[in-house]
Amino acid sequence: MSQAKNSYLVPAFATLSAIGFGVTTWLIYEYAPLDRVLFFNQKIFYFHVAHAFLLFAAVAVCGVGSIGFLKTRKHKWDDLALASAEVAVAFGAVVLVTGSIWGKAAWDIWWSWEKRLTMSLLLWLTLVAYVLVRRFAGASADRLAAMLAVFGTVGVPFVYFMVDRSDRHPQSGAKGVVATSQGEIKIVMWLCVATFLCWFLTLLIARIQSVRAEREVRELRERALDTGVLQ
């Protein structure tokens, strides 16, 4: 992916995201029917589930990047892994916070230590650990962090399929909430996923640019030290 393409992609995806935010917000409030059981608080579903899907996508990208880095030692894989891990932390925070608020609205509890929620929290903490290791353990910790990312990626299927074994959380899969919901709800739901996918790509590409800029700074510092510009 060339630098010129990168500079074009970020504003393109950001524009698509902005349009999508406007359209989906209108659709959520005006088009999607009111749920007969959860009433108005079911509106949280549209962005909570979309963020959850993209959290899984971000962790998967991070895992693929980490495996690629461990195998080839090429920086482009490492940049991809680090950028997607940070985006995954942000999306995971949204999932946990909005899920907690939804739990309070629907079941009158902020948090429950059930299997699904606990696994989601552990996955998010693994990603936070990855970011902290990359930030504070120095450049040599990249392989350790990559292993941590692979470990986190392995946890994704557990979190997803744990839904079917969950005590309280709505179910997923063929018999799940998304698959069995009404047509209008499903349309709005997938439009939200598309919108947040654009948002995810915007953040991911922007963060990859940032990671590359950090790498450039490190290389320039090394050159400056070699030439005596920096002491």
């Binding site: 949280i44 949204v94 909005t98 608020i101 609205a105 953040l203």
Partner: protein, 156 residues
């Protein structure tokens, strides 16, 4: 002579008894009876308790009951009225329930807004973090490049 005395007694004693006030009249007659006249004097008749006047409400009630029982449509009308009133009460209860549900929906609205706010705050924080880091990196890259160019030129 004896006959005359008996006649006198028969005339005078009742006359005296009538001349007495009513409370003591019976005593007087009793004393005269006890005085050995031989025939008991007839007691005055006991006064009768006056019958209560007929209650107009009772009479009206009875008239109404008779009229209602005589009307074959009355029972049906009563049932219809009771049903209508019950339906009104049910409607009122439903309306109250709907108002409570509307209040619950309004309460849920708060949580939806809270969740949206949380999502946008996290997104804004991440964007700010990205933008800030990018600014610092751009400045540092420009500075380092400038310093290296200067050093290279000076070296030549």
């Amino acid at each position: 002579m004896t006959k005359s005395l008996v006649i006198l007694a028969c005339v005078v004693v009742p006359a005296l008894a009538f001349a007495q006030p009513s409370g003591s009249g019976s005593a007087g007659s009793g004393s005269s009876a006890g005085s050995g006249s031989g025939a008991p004097a007839p007691s005055p008749p006991a006064p009768e308790t006056p019958a209560p006047p007929p209650d107009p409400a009772t009479a009206a009630r009875k008239a109404c009951t008779d009229a209602m029982n005589a009307d074959p449509t009355f029972e049906k009308m009563v049932v219809e009225t009771a049903d209508r009133r019950a339906a009104e009460l049910r409607l009122q209860a439903d309306q109250e329930q709907h108002q409570k549900a509307a209040a619950a929906i309004a309460k849920n609205e708060k949580h939806v807004i809270l969740a949206y706010a949380a999502m946008w705050i996290i997104a804004a924080a991440f964007l700010f973090f990205l933008w800030r880091r990018q600014q610092v990196l751009r400045t540092e890259i420009a500075q380092l490049k400038s310093d290296l160019d200067t050093a290279t030129k000076d070296g030549k």
